[in-house]
């Protein structure tokens, strides 16, 4: 199941050149770009692991891209995304976030059902990779 989160996720995966162009756009807007990775792309999992601190004061996408490449190398089977944070007054939020790597095979989610008090049923979505890893 293809994970669709952030920008561009309904498009075919971005090529490296396209990623660089997007990152360059972010840098030109003065946003701080950061790289994050996770093996649990649950929609409620907002906080992915940070690949190093956000990068400030960069002028060229090559610097960010070397970090993306390093992260991909270290975690070839994780999801990797790029966030661009706008610190200007009134925004102070992530302005752009997009996935730059997904595992070769995306396992999708499993639905767990738990019996609860009375005859209540509780449901939880869990990413399958989480189970296979453990």
């Amino acid at each position: 199941m293809r994970i669709t989160q952030g920008a561009f996720s309904f498009l075919p995966d971005l090529t490296d050149a396209q990623i660089k162009a997007q990152v360059q756009y972010c840098l030109e807007q003065g946003w701080a770009v950061s790289v994050e990775y996770t093996d649990d792309p649950h929609p409620r999992n907002n906080y992915w692991e940070m690949w190093g601190p956000p990068m400030f004061d960069l002028k060229d996408a090559a610097g960010v891209f070397s970090e993306i490449a390093a992260c991909r190398n270290t975690f070839p089977n994780h999801y990797v995304r790029v966030n661009a944070f706008d610190s200007s007054r009134g925004w102070e939020t992530v302005r752009l976030s997009f996935i730059v790597q997904r595992p070769a095979k995306e396992d999708g989610f499993r639905l767990d059902r738990t019996e609860w008090e009375g005859r209540t049923q509780r449901y939880a979505l869990r990413h399958r990779a989480q189970f296979e890893a453990r």
Binding site: K59, D60, E67
Partner: protein, 316 residues
């Protein structure tokens, strides 16, 4: 013969004629290099060998572009450089210009200059150096990384010095990401030479070694004049004669730093001029405000035995 190639043609022509021959002149004009070289000539006084070398590099880059257009292998040239020379000979200024020219020629994408010293690259404790160096390198990507007094990176007397780690990361990036940034190392000649002896890897990865000569006396006077111009001051004729003597005297005294000494001297002359005008009070006109007189120049301690001599009442 280089100068002949580099003199710009009268008009921009189509870059390629019917026989598939490239018009170098047009290519050259399009690259904005002529304006740049003219700027360089106007802005930088003296420094002949440096300008010559920059022309060579500029020509090489234009020819490289031409070769590319005709399908010959151009191969991005190695553009890392060293600038060696005494203090105040314009190394940083030229580095800034260099970033601009490389940008105009399309060899660096952004054309900014990141100026660092050892402190910015080398960390305080184990594991601190690599992230620090990488961070600076990331900031310099797409531009020029200028490492001032680069020989401090290597401290032979301390074998556990973290400088070595920074050097290794630098070398790796200089080799593998030649398209992404240009590194310029700067420092005094003799110490730079010793630095290269102990780090042969650096020498072989740097294509251009540019030596900045000391300024001649008349060049320093010209520099003083242009500084004054830029700040809307001017020297009276007598003051200019005193300035010539000042330069000669200053050169013989310790801590002479070429154009930097002149800049400092000029700043002090401005202070003296202000104080003189302030003390005389009364009515002043535009001319008085912009003129630096002989007295302002001659009050310098350089004329009374040098900066180490005890202050006399005259030198304020």
């Amino acid at each position: 013969m280089l100068d002949a190639t580099l003199s710009a043609p009268p008009a921009a022509l189509p870059a390629r004629d019917a026989d598939g021959k490239l018009d170098l002149g047009a290519l050259f004009t399009e690259s904005e290099v002529p304006e740049f070289l003219a700027d360089l000539e106007a802005d930088l006084i003296g420094l002949k060998p440096v300008k010559r070398r920059i022309r060579e590099i500029a020509a090489h880059l234009v020819i490289g572009r031409a070769r590319e257009q005709l399908g010959l292998t151009a191969g991005a040239p190695t553009l890392h450089m060293t600038f060696t020379g005494n203090p105040g000979t314009g190394k940083t200024t030229v580095a800034l210009k260099m970033a601009q020219i490389l940008h105009r020629l399309g060899y660096v994408r952004r054309g900014h200059l990141v100026s660092v010293t050892r402190d910015d690259l080398v960390g305080q404790y184990i594991g601190h150096t690599a992230p620090k160096t990488k961070e600076i390198l990331k900031k310099a990507m797409g531009g020029v990384l200028f490492i001032d007094e680069a020989y401090y990176l290597y401290r032979p007397e301390n074998e556990r010095d973290y400088g070595q780690e920074a050097i290794e990361i630098l070398l790796q990036v200089m080799e593998n990401q030649r398209d992404d940034l240009v590194v310029i190392l700067a420092g005094y000649k003799d110490r730079m030479d010793r630095f290269f002896e102990s780090n042969p890897g650096f020498r072989s990865r740097i294509a251009h070694h540019i030596d900045f000569p000391d300024y001649e006396d008349e060049e320093l006077v010209a520099i003083a004049r242009s500084m004054a111009d830029a700040a809307d001051y001017r020297f009276s004729p007598e003051a200019e004669r005193a300035l010539v003597e000042y330069v000669t005297a200053r050169r013989g005294q310790p801590n002479f730093a070429n154009a930097r000494s002149i800049r400092n001297a000029f700043d002090r002359m401005r202070l003296r001029q202000s104080l003189r005008l302030f003390d005389t009070a009364g009515l002043i006109d535009r001319e008085a405000l912009e003129t630096i007189t002989e007295g302002d120049v001659r009050a310098s301690r350089v004329f009374s035995g040098g900066i180490d001599a005890p202050r006399s009442a005259a030198s304020v």
